[in-house]
Each structure stands twice: as C-alpha cells, then as structure tokens.
Symmetry: D2
Subunit: 340 residues, 4 copies
C-alpha cells in the first residue's frame, strides 16, 4: 500500500482525497490545510472521514478554536507518507517542496505551479513512462489534461500534425466569490498556455490557440481544429473516442445541450459533488473541412485532473511500469468506463 | 408500510423518490414519467435503483427504444399504490387526478398546480392537522414552503402581526436551458403569490411583497420584515431559529457569503446532487427597526419541499395524528438536525 | 435622392433608420411597425424624429390609444418608397414581400429570412456587383457579415484556402427578456450556418465551424483559423486589417479586455446607443501555426449589419456601379474610418 | 459663471463633465486624470471636447506617450477653478483635499469617500440648505441618492416614520473587468450603509435594511417598506411620485420588465451612453399591508448622482439660496421632467 498525503484541502484537494480513498492499493494518510474553511467545516459535519493535519501551530489553534479535530502537524503526517499530492494555491507548492525533500517524500504538483517545480511535466496517458521513479512531477492543468486526452487519442489512431485550439474558459467554480465576471467575455493574449503545454507533452504536434473567459461555472468548452497525418472520417473519430475510458461521447438529441446539462447529469448520477472525471465530446460538433477535423470538448474543471494525478502516483512509485496497466487500475478504482 | 408512487421524474420528482426511499415506514413503488430525459438516462446508468413506469404505451415504446428497462404502465403502478406524489409540470397534475381517483389512491401535488386541485393547501409545520385523512393535498411552492418555516417559527414564539417580503428569485435550476435571463433583473406584479399563499396557510398574519427574478441558479434569497406582536430581540430570534430542524443558521465569518456558498457546502457535505433540505438564515442579516425584525433567508429551490411533501404523506395516510411527531419522523429519516 | 422605408422598428430597424438618415443621398420616408413597443415609446419621447406608419388599422388604433402620432398606413408609405429595408422578425419579411412587389418597390431583408426570399445573398464588400439592379436582396446575418469582412480582407491580400470558425455567440441583446441563458453554455449542431453562408458568398473558400452560446449581451466573439494560399506574417495581417474602414484593431494594453470593454468604449465615444459599426480584432490574438493564421474578432450584433445594408441600397438602386465607391460613400456618411 | 473642474475621469467623472457642460451658468474648466484609460482614449477620438489636465508630470508623460493632448497640470487647472467635483476612487479624494484647500477651491466628493472628508453630507432635495456656502460637501452614494428621492418625496407628502430597505445591488458597471460575480448572490452584513446614511440625511426617519449583490450591470433594484405617519393610498403615492422631476413612473404593460428594459429605453431615447438621471418606480410594485406602503425602485448607478452633485455646486457657491429654485435650474439644464 502506498501512503498518500493530500496537502491543500480546496477544490482539487478534496477531490484528490476522495479519489485516493477509492484506490485499493493506496492508503490515504490524511489531508493538510493552512486555515479554516467551509470545506473543513463540511469535513467535520461529515464526521471526519479523513484525518486532518494543520500546516503549523497557528493553523492548528485556529482549527481547534472552530471545534475541528486536528490529528497533528504536517511534519507528523510527512513521516508516514510516501508521496504527497500538493493541491495548494499556485506558488505555495514550490515552497512546500523543500519540506517534502527534507522528509524524503515524493510529490505531485497541480497545474498552477511553474514547470520547474518538478522533474517531469506529466500526463497519465501521453507520457506515463517519463514519470516512472520521478521524485517531483507536475500535472498538466485542467484544460490541458482534458485536451490532451482527446488529441493524444486521435494521435495514436491517425497521427496529428497540428492543432488550433479555442478555449471558452469558465471564470469561476461554483461557490467562488473571489473571482468572477458579469456580462463580459475576457480575451487573453495568444497563444494560450494550453497550446504551449500540449507541445511540451506531445512535442511532435504543432499547436496554437486563443482563450476567452466566459461568465459560467460548470466547465470549460474547447474547440479543436486538428490536421491529421492521414485522413480520418467522422465515424472513425467517434469510434476512437468511444474506446477511451476517460472520454464520454454525448449528443444533443440525448439532452446534452451544453456544459450545464453535463453537470446536471453527473448530479443525477449521484456522483459525489456532481463531479465527472470524464471529458465529454459532442458527436454533433465533429465536422471536417478537407482533411482537417474539428470537434468540441467539455472539461469538468474541478475533477478532470484527478485520474491523471492518481496515475502520477503509480508512475512515481513505480507501482506499475506499464502506463496502460496503471491507467486501467486507476480507471477501475474510479469506476471509469464501467458504465459502458 | 405506506406504498408511495412518484409521478413525474423531473427536478422535484427525483428528489421525492430519494426522500421516500430514506423513510423507514414507506415503500417506494417506483417512478413514472412521460418521455425520455437526461434524468432517466442517469437512472439507467445507476442501474435502475427504482422501478420505472411509463405513462402510456407510446412512452413505454420510446423508453424501450432508448434501452431503458420499463416495469410497466402507470395503471399497473397505481394498483399497488396508496398515495401518489405528483411532481409533473404545472397543469398536468390536475389531469392526472382523475386517474388517481379511479384507482382510489390519494395524491399530493406540488406548488405549480392550482389550489383547487386539492382539498387542502398544505405545509407540514404550519397546518399538519388540516391534512389528516385528506385525499388530495397541494403543497406550498418552494419559496412559500421555506418562508413559512421561518415565519411560523417566529409566530409560535412571539406572534407575528404582519410581514413584508422581498424575493430575489433564481430564474433557472442548474442544467435548465428552457428558461433563463442574461444580465437582467425582472420585476413581477406585486403582491407576489407567496405573500398571498402565506396568508392562506397562516390566516392571522397580514402579508405583502415584491418579487424580482435574478440571473442565478443556486437558490432564492428572501428578506422578511416582520412586525411581531411582542418585542423580540435579535438574540432570541437566533435562538428560536436554531431550535428548528429545518432551518440552519449561517454566518458570513464562517464563509457563507451567499447562495453559491451554500450550494458548495452541500456538495462538500457529500449530499446527493449537492442538495440541502434546510433553509439557511444569515445571522448577520437579522436587524431591528423599532419593534420590526428583518432577516434574510436562502431557499434551496430544488429540494426544500421534500420534507414537507413527506409530511403530507404522513398526514393524508394518518400515519401520525400529531404533527410534531410526524415531522420528527420525517426529519430523522432525512437526517435533518442530526448535525447539530 | 433614394426614398427608403424601414419596416420593423426593433433592434435592427431603429439602427437602420438612424443609418439611412445619415446618408446625404437618401431620404428616409419613415419607419413602419406592427405593435406598440418601448422603442416606439422612446421615439415619441424624442419628438418623432421619423414619421411612423402602422402596418394596418388595428395597429394604428393601438398606437393612437397610446398617444403615438401615426402618419399613415404601410400602403401609403410604400407609395412614396423606392426601396424597403425589412427588419421584421424572421419569416415576416417573406410575407411582406408580396406587398412590396405589388407596389413595385425593391427590398433588402435581414439575415433571419430564408435565402430564397431574395434574388441575391448580399455582402457589401464581398459581392457588391451581384446586388446591382437586384429587386430583392438578403443580407448576411450579423456574425457572417463581420466574419466575412475579416476573411474577405485577408483573402484579397493573400488568398484564403479554408477557414475553421469557432463562434461564442451572445444569447440576448441588452434589454431582452424573451430569451436568455443563466450560467450555461449551449452547443449547436455543427457546422454552424455562418460557415455555410461564408461559402455561399465566397465560394472558393472552404469553411466549417462550431457555435456555442454564452450568457452575455455585448457582442459575439469569433476565432478564425485561416489557411492562406501564400504565407502571411502577423505584422502583414495587422497592416491589412488596419486599412479596412469597417475593422478596428484593438489591444489588451489599450484597455480592451473583451466584448464589454468595446461596448463601454462606444458609449464613451458618445455613439448613439453605444453602438459600433466596426468589428474589432485583437492584435494580441493573432498567432500562427505553420502557415495557418488564427485571430479573434468582436461582432457588435446590434449594429454591425447597418453599413452593408446601406451598401445594399446603393447596389439595388445602382446608385454606384462600383462597389468600392459605394462602400466609401456609406462609410463617409456613417463616419467610418474618420477616426484613423 | 461658476468655474468647475472635474477630478477623476472614470464612470462618474465623465458623466459629471457632461452634466456641467449642459448648465447655462457653469463653465467646465476641464477634467483631470491620473493615468491613461479607455475613457481618455475615447475623449481623444471625440476630438477633446474638454481640456484634459494631468495629475502630475509622470501622468502627463504617459498621456503624451499615448498621443493624448494635455492642457496642463492639476495645479494650473486649480488656479482657474471655483469648485472641484472630485470623482476619484474611494480614499483618493481625502488626499486631494489638501491641495484643494491650498488653492482655496471648494469641493464636492462622491459617496465613496468617508463622511469626515466633508463639512456636509449632502443630498440636493433633502437638505439643500445645509450645503449653502459650505467648502466641502460629500454626496450620498448612488443607491442612497435615489432612495432618498423617493422617501423624501413621500415624507413631504404624508410623513414617514420608518423604512425597511432591501437592496439588490448590481455588482459591476458595464465594461468592468476588475470586479464581478458569476452565478452567485452575495449577502452583506446588515444593516446596509444606505439605511444608516438615510438616517443621517433624514434624521427623523428610522431605517434598516439588507443588501444582496446580484450578477447584473444595468442598475440596482430597491424595495422599500415605508410606515407613513398618516395613511396614504396607492393612487396618492403614484401621483406624488409623478410630480417629482427626478422620478419616472413605469409599468410592466408599457414594456418595462426590469432594469435591462430601462437601460434599453435610455439607449433608444438617444441619451448619451444610454444614461438616465431619473430613478424609476414600477407602479405595479406599489402595494399596501395595513398602513405600510411598499414599492420597488430602479437606480441607474452610473448617472443617478449627477443632478444632486450639480445641486451641490449651486449650494456651495450659493448660486441659489433656495433649494427648490436651484434644483429646478439643474433639472431644466439636464432636461429633467421636460418629457412629461
């Protein structure tokens, strides 16, 4: 059993803890946070299914003052830990890294950190082997993780020469009050980082793209214009995507009208928090222009990176040396593909 | 065991089915619907935890064509049923009533139906006794249900002479594409129906109010200006609300910044679909002006009527002749107040 | 002087009337509408700068009952008219056409009508010559009109082989209550009609695209991935766009952060209604991937078709046989390019 | 002629400059700003209808580098000035005050400043006489300004004992990217400052209230529950409001469905920037509960304080010693009431 500690109990950290708990070959040591929050309040109301550790004494006192049971300090948790999943705010992970080193534990950082925090820029599907035995890995961001699933999947089928990506990015998660837009789209400088990141992970593919922020909370929407090396039909693309256990194909006539339908569906499924690990691709959006193939993807930003982060544990700890086997284990434990 | 059938498997119907399933003295016969939908698709993916009945042969064929297992037709379900929870679209319930009569089953309608569909206009807390042995009950709407919880609770404490209500109404549920507003508030003709309905349920209280629709999905927000018969302090009001098992008191300094915080909290709690049965009142909003007391309420529109609808089953079937006992049973089975 | 009548005094009709009034070689006979509206109320408060005609006696009575001065009926207006700009709701134009024929007047329809209502599917820049002497023209829709400005402009510079278009479509105009989305993106079946329409107007270019609706009101946002026949640099593209009097180049460092900045800027400019006739292209979005060039466009949906509709008058009435001269006259009268 | 300088060329500053320009007994010296902005870019494109002064040399250089003609520095402008309208960001006005004192010029601050910046907390209608000959006045905020118009108007008619106020506050102005909410209502600690401010301006009235932020840009919506000293009918209230030149009565059946309708109407009216100086009260929202009267108000946040700020100039400069005459002059020059 690999001992895993989740540092940072925010939007991503909570879902990582849930995901690790579902793995039959991992043991969740607990979660660590730095301050009182609504999520910790909910953890207590649920009866502390996970042990909670405080990042330091000040934090421990603050949590105690709110009636939250604290199991100990970060250091104590690190002593029992093989690998940390660091889901702290951007920049904090880099500082935490020194402590992880001191305790000789490995760590997986999320997409908000700078690339140089890690030895490997990791994506479960596309470059599993690079993560083997690595001490510090950084996962691709939510958009990039989902995007690469789709592009890598096509690339393995027919070879992809280049992609042009338009991202309609949700500006806030449900419940966010510290950020938001009202009746406005916001344009970013191009190319977007997701295109650059894709080229780092899949260096043989050329990529560029434009990102615009939209005032919604339930998922990003990405369009991809891909130039394949050999011609691929719409039918072939659908069949290829359908085989992938982290991709769902959806259709307008099924009632999937957009990002909000997918959130509703995941709630109706009874998924905790209404989360979906899969990206969705609308069959109705797959079109061709000459050899180019274009399609639209839904990215569930809160949960999409969970599977690939768990893959990262498997790679770093060399729990499986073969990426395909590792990914299948993660999928099985998360229930991915079981619905097919 | 009371045999309950849920007719209409939409936003409310799904939650009624879940709520009935949790009652230790009720048996869910199944759910009935009239057409294929995302929710039915999710029901199938979950492995059909409930039996599904089709409203007629056309519908049965449509469901079968989509690979959905259908247990039978509405008529077959009605034969096994003691009481129906009708959660169909506004107006359909009135038509269904004839069939319920034919099969000699009782029914509880939701707030969208006209009052004359029922013998009793019902609210679990405020007028339980009126529902006893009734054949047809209509529940108050989501806003009215939550509003009456708070007003009735104060009324029982200190007597309420009159209330003036401002409702900021969410325009759509998460996942709705058939209605919505974009960057607009919409004003309704005053007084709002909730004020009128409150006077029907609590005839000794005078009420008026204004309703404005706002472009959000996670809950209505209501302010109440209440004139009590005897002076009541803010502290006393808080204590009174706190004793109520269907009311949660929340505070800004706990991180509850608004409706979206409450939705986030319920998701973090692991509640199915991120639902909350309770209304929330912000302690920070309770203020006085002379004898008048003013406060702000959050109404979780998708799930707030579930407890009172289950109370209605208890009343109609005379499972408990005492309202207090009935409500406590419903609460216990739904886990309400257990977190205190 | 060409006598112009505007039929339909809604969002587009009002702006057409304003635009025609600014032309030194056109005479606005007046505007026609079918029912009382806020816009007509505003027209009266402004002191009736245009004559108003009623579509029939019922409408005339309704307007009179609201104290609105009515100059006469549609038929009386048609007798004085050379050409109608029909800005009625989709489908109505086709019915009106019979009456226009009866009075021997030409007509220009907006993008909502079906193509077969007209002899020519028209875009001022791209196919002016086709509109010469035509009796019935249909203008491209707002997105297509703006899109073609940009694509045609590049096509004339370096030749365009194909384009892939992603449209983030605003769901409602400011003030709309009859349509809207709340916290949702809505996906359409691909390819979008704008891609198909582009191929009708510019048949030598291949086009496809995906459209997603976003809950905003101030303009559509389009990304275009264009494959040029010969390589073109970002600098060259910027210079080409800058020469076009119906395109504005904007930059993030100037403060143009998105669609809402552009609306604000137009308001600050003192443009009536805060309108802009120009499309805007962000210099910051222009990127290349191999030979392909990608860029992002803002489409001011309420006003973008006004210049090309006025071009259509010039073509149909053969006021200018040369497209370039015609467009320059329209531009001069509308003040387009004067700010450079 | 009173020489007026506007310091701060943001949302309010621009509108103050426009409003002062319309006064036949005031002379606009110019506007002052501290940094390049979209609004200054628009000022230049319009051909510099106002002289622009830079707050210091650094700013002058920045403006010059952007090709903006600068007339001089703040100090040079102050030498020609009788009174400043300070529309800088909250807190800046307090710092500027020292400079105004040095040059012996009076100043009117906007609602964002703390009350102690000024000798008088001012509202044109309610306390004009207090502003006479004052050196430093602070205007009520946008919500309070509009609210007091309505309450003061009723108070003069029938006496008001107390009010309870619910404010649905727009979170951002059109074009704002530095603030915003997405799919969230945000609750504030009660009582809101507008209730407290109302009691400062109208000390004989008791007030309390709750404020909730909503994700819209076109105006705040306020409900008022007022307890009059003597009974007043709905009809009487309507007639009283109608006489007020800074209040418009609107109705749902006229097409005014909410805040967005009002913005649309003002755009259709051809008002610069689509602005309205008047508050609007929906006749349809005026209801009674016992003696209490309740109604709903629209506050156009960008422009509502302009008339009262101009009144403040008249008071501070003692241009009129009588408030009624002063207000009528402001109204006449701004065209207020002219439409009746």
């Amino acid at each position: 059993m690999t001992n895993v500690l989740v540092v940072g109990y925010g939007t991503i950290g909570q879902r990582l803890a849930d995901g690790v708990s579902l793995q039959d070959d991992m043991n969740l040591i607990g979660v660590v946070d730095a301050a009182m929050s609504l999520s910790i309040r909910a953890l207590k109301e649920k009866g502390m299914p996970y042990d909670l550790y405080a990042v330091n004494e000040t934090c421990r006192a603050e949590l105690a003052a709110n009636g939250i049971p604290v199991r100990g300090l970060l250091e104590e948790a690190l002593e029992k830990t093989d690998i940390v999943l660091d889901a702290t705010s951007a920049g904090v992970g880099a500082k935490n890294k020194e402590q992880y080193k001191k305790y000789g534990v490995k760590a997986v950082f999320q997409g908000g950190e700078k690339n140089d925090v890690a030895d490997v820029f990791f994506h479960g599907y596309a470059n599993y082997e690079k993560g083997l035995h690595a001490d510090f890995l950084k996962l691709t961001s939510c958009n990039t993780t989902g995007l690469i699933r789709a592009v890598d999947c096509l690339d393995k089928k027919c070879g992809i020469e280049k992609v042009a990506i338009t991202i309609v990015r949700r500006v806030a998660d449900p419940g966010d009050y510290h950020r938001g837009l009202t009746n406005a789209l916001q344009v970013d400088k191009a190319p977007n980082h997701q295109a650059l990141d894709l080229m780092t992970i899949l260096p043989e593919i050329k990529a560029t793209g434009i990102l615009v922020h939209a005032p919604v909370t339930h998922g990003h929407f990405i369009t991809v214009v891909a130039t394949p090396k050999r011609d691929i039909s719409v039918k072939e693309a659908i069949d290829t995507f359908k085989e992938h256990n982290r991709i769902r194909m959806v259709r307008l006539d099924e009632g999937f009208q957009g990002n909000a339908s997918i959130f509703k569906y995941a709630r109706d499924l009874g998924r905790p928090r209404g989360d979906l690990y899969e990206i969705c691709i609308w069959e109705d959006t797959i079109v061709k222009s000459g050899k180019d193939i274009m399609f639209g993807i839904h990215i569930p930003q809160e949960s999409v990176t969970i599977p690939e982060t768990i893959d990262a544990i498997r790679a770093a700890m060399a729990m499986d040396t073969d990426g395909k086997t590792a990914v299948e284990k993660t999928n099985k434990n998360l229930g991915l593909g079981g619905w097919k």
